[in-house]
């Protein structure tokens, strides 16, 4: 490992984290593909580094949000009872579920979230009268889908942690279900809070960002104990992530919601396509470093 590789890791992390922090999304979603495809880092090491990068990304980005009172702390701690259980379930399931299924599942989630975000953005650009007719169908389909997912997730929640608190937090429908893929929290949580709970995007973004740290720490503790976190990789990635997260949080306070949604949707589609291509063994870009 050369010094230039550490600098490369650092640069990638700053860029990925600025984007992730801006979207309230875990930067691991960019970091794992980049590290494995271009850096030729072993997948478990890449996941370990991405989990670590997620925490300072969340914590670094959370401070400005907290000061601006954008974060709903009480909602966050209630939802965290489910997200931490989900994260631990994910750590256990990740060893059982075959990797191609994880890729497929992840690609599907990315497309679903992109569609959801895009529908919301387009609706706001149109006049209030036409939007209902044009997008009513899509919206109905989504509501149905979410309901099914909610049932599946709810049953799992009840099995894994049949507590009253958890039922109180039943809004967290999808979370434990898809937790097998470690770097998806933000992608799921923001649309979840945005559409299901009808919170403003900035509030759901800030609350999601706040929660991701604790969720990631639940998995990171296990990974650290198992020795899957390599200092040489995780260190530069984490360091770069903090700078990027703070940059992203500053930008979020300036950029309007609708433009953010479109950017968010576009990035999700690109990532979904990439995941599908990887699933079928197609490598459009073969990077070497």
């Amino acid at each position: 490992m050369a010094g230039s590789f550490i600098v490369w890791l650092f640069a990638v992390s700053v860029a990925a984290s600025a984007l992730g922090g801006m979207l309230g999304m875990a930067s691991g979603i960019f970091i794992v593909p980049l590290l494995t495809m271009f850096g030729h880092v072993e997948i478990h090491t890449a996941i370990g580094a991405s989990i670590i990068s997620v925490i300072p990304c969340s914590c670094g980005g959370a401070a400005p949000y907290l000061k601006n009172r954008l974060t709903n702390i009480r909602l966050a701690i209630v939802l965290e009872t489910a997200t931490t259980v989900g994260a631990l379930t994910g750590v256990l399931l990740a060893g059982i579920v075959p990797v191609p299924y994880l890729y497929l599942l992840f690609a599907v989630i990315l497309f679903l979230s992109a569609h959801q975000m895009l529908a919301g953005a387009v609706i706001r650009f149109l006049s209030p009268r036409t939007k209902r007719h044009a997008f009513g169908e899509i919206h109905c389909a989504w509501t149905r889908l979410i309901r099914i997912e909610r049932l599946v997730a709810m049953s799992r929640c009840l099995i894994s942690c049949a507590s009253r608190t958890l039922r109180h937090a039943a809004h967290v429908w999808r979370r434990p279900d898809f937790s097998v893929i470690r770097y998806r929290s933000g992608v799921l949580k923001i649309p979840a809070m945005d559409t299901a709970m009808r919170l403003p995007l900035k509030v759901s973004s800030a609350t999601s960002n706040f929660m991701i740290g604790v969720t990631a720490a639940a998995s990171a503790g296990v990974y650290f104990m198992r020795g899957n976190i390599v200092t040489e990789i995780a260190g530069p990635v984490a360091f770069g992530s903090v700078l990027g997260a703070i940059m992203g949080a500053r930008i979020l306070l300036i950029v309007p919601n609708d433009k953010l949604r479109l950017l968010f949707a576009a990035i999700l589609v690109v990532l979904g396509v990439q995941m599908l291509l990887t699933l079928f063994g197609v490598h459009l870009i073969k990077g070497s470093l």
């Binding site: 401070a63 702390i73 701690i77 009872t81 631990l88 507590s163 503790g221 360091f239």
Partner: protein
């Protein structure tokens, strides 16, 4: 005191200074390693490597400390409902660390 330092400000301060000190540790470790031209990978026992690993451990501890802080503040505010919720989150995380040890 509590009015000046609301829960938001406390958490913001913890997360801000916590992340910066963790980053400073990692940055210091790798700067020392790059300057010394012997990278931590070749000799894991070196001081730079140890500093960077400490930073990473701090990163993992930071959210756990955050939940602990919320737990304590809720108890002090006699908000036992949310204190028990944060206690539950804390218990789940610690359970994962202690019972998740055997590798899959």
């Amino acid at each position: 005191m509590n009015r000046v330092w609301g829960l938001e400000e406390l958490l913001a301060a913890l997360l801000r200074y916590g992340s910066w000190s963790a980053c400073a540790a990692i940055g210091l470790g790798f700067t020392l390693a790059l300057i010394g031209s012997h990278l931590p990978a070749r000799n894991p026992a070196t001081m730079p490597h140890r500093i960077a690993t400490m930073g990473i451990a701090l990163i993992i501890l930071l959210p756990i400390l955050r939940v602990l802080l919320m737990f304590l503040v809720f108890i002090r505010e006699r908000d036992f409902r949310f204190a028990s919720i944060s206690g539950l989150v804390l218990a789940i995380i610690l359970a994962g660390i202690f019972f998740g040890l055997p590798s899959a």
